[in-house]
């Protein structure tokens, strides 16, 4: 919701004594611009979970600013947080924050992104490389459906300064590079979009298309970039003919899928992730020592970090309804105006 940021510090709900006993959870989200999920989904679900557990919490957003990230961490500990849950902006800052928290006796949870060498108590995430893999697989599926011979594939990568973008790229490169090498596909232009800026993405893609008019598939790293590419394709009446990928299952992306302009998006069931993380945090805040279902190896320290890992899901036209069924987007926002008909066709109730 739009008021996601209004009152995040619950001060009144729980009685002071029990709150003191239960501790307080500080959550730092990374930004609000690369993806809508942080402010619209994660914040909401985490708040709900903490409220239900009667634990005090403080959720803030670092706006992609490392300095602010550290400052917020400092301030949360100052404010009495006993558990810290972070989505790091980069491992270096993340590690500093984790170590500082540790030195103050505050355990941390890595949320969504693993802090390399950080040694957080728990790790809860989607696998970002897996997201990229799904995108790569999705694009090749759509290209196969379109029966294009030796298609030229263009990359519209995320922000060059965003480590996640690097991970996504690893994922889809893993799928597509063998095909380039084998000559099934032809590697087209490959550019990154500063700050995930959709306007710049438009220009960049337009120029790709000018230089290489035969682009037959676009691997766009998220729905916003995908939409930028689709706008340019529309201008050239190529929309629907050139498959485009996406990520985040935004209303915009899903609508583009319904309209047939976008081939797929990747849906990350944020609620599951948030619930799992909140469960761990609440337990830690209450002084318990919860166990996680799995673990991952920190490649830097070679230590196992207890982890809860979620599976991202590829969304095509035929399973758009899953996202609605999950409550991640509502039917009202998705099936507005012209899309009502398409929704019915796609079987969305």
């Amino acid at each position: 919701g739009g008021d996601g940021g209004q009152t995040t510090t619950s001060t009144s709900s729980a009685p002071a004594s029990s709150a003191a006993k239960a501790g307080k959870v500080g959550v730092i989200l990374p930004d609000s611009k690369s993806s809508a999920r942080w402010e619209t989904a994660d914040r909401k679900y985490l708040e709900e979970a903490f409220k239900a557990a009667g634990v005090e919490y403080d959720i803030q957003n670092a706006q992609n600013d490392k300095t602010a990230f550290q400052t917020i961490a400092d301030q949360m500990i100052t404010n009495g947080a006993t558990v810290l849950m972070i989505v790091n902006l980069d491992s270096g800052t993340g590690k500093t924050v984790i170590e500082k928290a540790k030195s103050q006796g505050v355990p941390t949870i890595d949320y969504d992104r693993l802090t390399l060498g950080g040694g957080a108590a728990y790790y809860v995430s989607f696998d970002n490389t897996k997201v990229g893999t799904l995108q790569g697989e999705g694009l090749s599926k759509c290209l196969t459906d379109k029966k294009v011979e030796k298609p030229i594939v263009a990359y519209l990568n995320g922000s060059p300064t965003d480590n996640n973008a690097t991970l996504f790229k690893e994922g889809y490169d893993g799928v597509l590079k063998p095909k380039f090498d084998s000559g099934d596909y032809v590697k087209g232009p490959d550019q990154s979009v500063p700050d995930w800026d959709n306007t710049q993405a438009g220009t960049i893609f337009e120029q790709m298309l000018t230089e290489q008019p035969k682009i037959a598939g676009v691997l766009a790293a998220n729905d916003g970039l995908g939409n930028a590419a689709i706008t340019v394709l529309k201008k050239n009446n190529l929309n629907g003919k050139v498959p485009v990928t996406g990520q985040d299952a935004t209303v915009q992306g899903l609508q583009n899928i319904l309209a047939g302009d976008q081939c797929m998006t990747v849906y990350k069931a944020v609620k599951k992730e948030a619930d799992a993380a909140a469960k761990l945090a609440v337990a830690l805040a209450k002084g318990e020592k919860p166990t996680a279902s799995g673990s991952v190896k920190d490649p830097e320290t070679n230590q196992d970090v207890p982890a809860e890992l979620m599976e991202p899901q590829a969304i095509y036209l035929d399973n758009v309804k899953d996202v609605v069924a999950d409550g991640y987007v509502t039917k009202e926002e998705l099936c507005k105006g012209d899309f009502a008909e398409k929704c019915t066709e796609a079987g969305i109730q």
Binding site: P189, S192, P194, D197, T199, Q207, T210, K234
Partner: protein, 420 residues
């Protein structure tokens, strides 16, 4: 007699000989050699850039790329045109980028949720710009906070405002056909030619009328031959541009035809003409230059300095609103980054490259358009080159420096001659 003619002070308080093509040309050459370059350095920089890119990538010179250039550079150019007003005063507006984002978001939200007709939504967006400008201008002029600080604060606040408007980070699609057409559709070729014809005719008419009026007052007026030459040059270059844009540039002409002048082009042209007229031929424009040149002198001449300042901010934010509308049209969506990242710096850069001074008192709207063209060409060319992120940043920086360097060296000669 010969010797006497050379004496300065001869042609006292009157313009020299009657102008003709030849005389005008000679005078121009002399002016340039003497250091008064006008738009020449910027044009020179532009030509160098285009040559470099055309040599590197043949696609740069295609009709489709020529058309791309206009739509790609439109938003930044429009914002830069507005910034000229504020820069003329020696002030700055750091928030112009995000102001365009706010206005674009207002447009998108009213279009999407309220379902109002497009013109109401456009009016709402521009009104938002006017309000923003009024607030910023009043804080600068009446409260006296430095514009850098006011607009830095606004830069932060507007980021928040955009986030609120777009629901904390979602993208809002813009699907209204009229709005989307602005940056994505073209005039039908015949209309392009019609507009072209009208422009040339009006230009010729204005020039002729002016000359006749001056002649009738006994003032030095341009002769017919010179006017014919000017009109001819305009007709030639504009005609070439229209012809190029009317070429078929579809990749699949059988499937779909893509021809015509992009709709933003006449929008920018009209605004360019209007603001140039305002700056050069109205009292408001004159006062803007005066305040920028010497605020104290303007105040002593009875010019309402505060009002002029506020108006400049209003114009700047309104132009930002129009830029935001074009950006929203082009992306067919509005997101929290609309107007963010490099938009502002590029816009100020465009104005400055064109020759507008950050100290006020010097600049033209045309400068912003030329500078905007430089920025657009760089972005466009770099997109074609397909460099990786880091190389792209490095090369973009160097190319910008190159274009500005050509300009600076040309102007340096003027300064060396003792002219400012």
């Amino acid at each position: 007699m010969n010797k006497v003619k050379e004496l300065p002070g001869e042609a006292i308080v009157t313009a020299a000989e009657a102008p003709s093509i030849r005389n005008s040309f000679l005078a121009y050459v002399q002016r340039v050699r003497g250091g008064d370059m006008g738009a020449l350095p910027a044009v020179l920089g532009l030509v160098v850039l285009c040559a470099v890119f055309a040599a590197a990538r043949p696609a740069f010179l295609t009709a489709i790329n020529f058309a791309n250039l206009f739509t790609q550079g439109a938003a930044v150019t429009l914002i830069a045109m507005g910034l000229v007003f504020v820069l003329l005063l020696g002030e700055i507006d750091l928030s112009a980028g995000f102001a365009s984002g706010v206005c674009a978001a207002v447009l998108a939200v009213t279009l999407a949720s309220a379902g109002l007709p497009w013109y109401v939504c456009v009016a709402a967006a521009i009104l938002t710009g006017v309000i923003i400008g009024t607030v910023l201008g009043s804080l600068v002029a009446k409260v006296g906070i430095p514009s850098f600080v006011v607009t830095l604060a606004a830069f932060l606040a507007f980021q928040g405002l955009v986030l609120v408007l777009v629901d904390e980070g979602t993208n809002i699609s813009v699907r209204d056909e009229v709005i989307v057409a602005i940056a994505n559709k073209n005039l039908p070729p015949w209309l392009g030619w019609a507009v072209y014809a009208a422009c040339v005719a009006i230009f010729a008419g204005v020039q002729l009328r002016r000359a006749r009026k001056r002649a009738s007052r006994g003032l030095v007026a341009d002769p017919l031959s010179l006017i014919a030459f000017r009109v001819g040059m305009l007709a030639l270059f504009a005609g070439l541009a229209v012809a190029a844009l009317n070429l078929e540039r579809s990749r699949n002409p059988a499937l779909v035809s893509l021809t015509g002048v992009p709709i933003v082009v006449p929008i920018i042209l009209v605004l360019l003409v209007v603001w140039t007229l305002v700056l050069r031929r109205t009292g408001f424009g004159r006062h803007l230059y005066a305040v920028g040149g010497n605020t104290e002198a303007a105040r002593r001449a009875g010019i309402p300095v505060d009002r002029i300042k506020i108006s400049a901010f209003v114009l700047c934010s309104s132009m930002a609103a129009i830029g935001g509308i074009v950006a929203a049209s082009r992306a067919s969506s509005v997101d929290p980054n609309t107007g963010g990242s490099s938009v502002l710096l590029y816009a100020v850069g465009a104005a400055v490259i064109g020759g507008t001074s950050l100290f006020g008192g010097k600049g033209r709207v045309l400068d912003a358009v030329l500078g905007g063209a430089v920025v657009a060409v760089i972005e466009n060319g770099m997109g074609l080159m397909g460099y990786g992120a880091s190389v792209k940043y490095l090369v973009t920086g160097s190319v910008l420096l190159l274009a500005a360097g050509v300009d600076a060296l040309a102007r340096k000669r003027a300064a060396a001659a003792g002219l400012r």
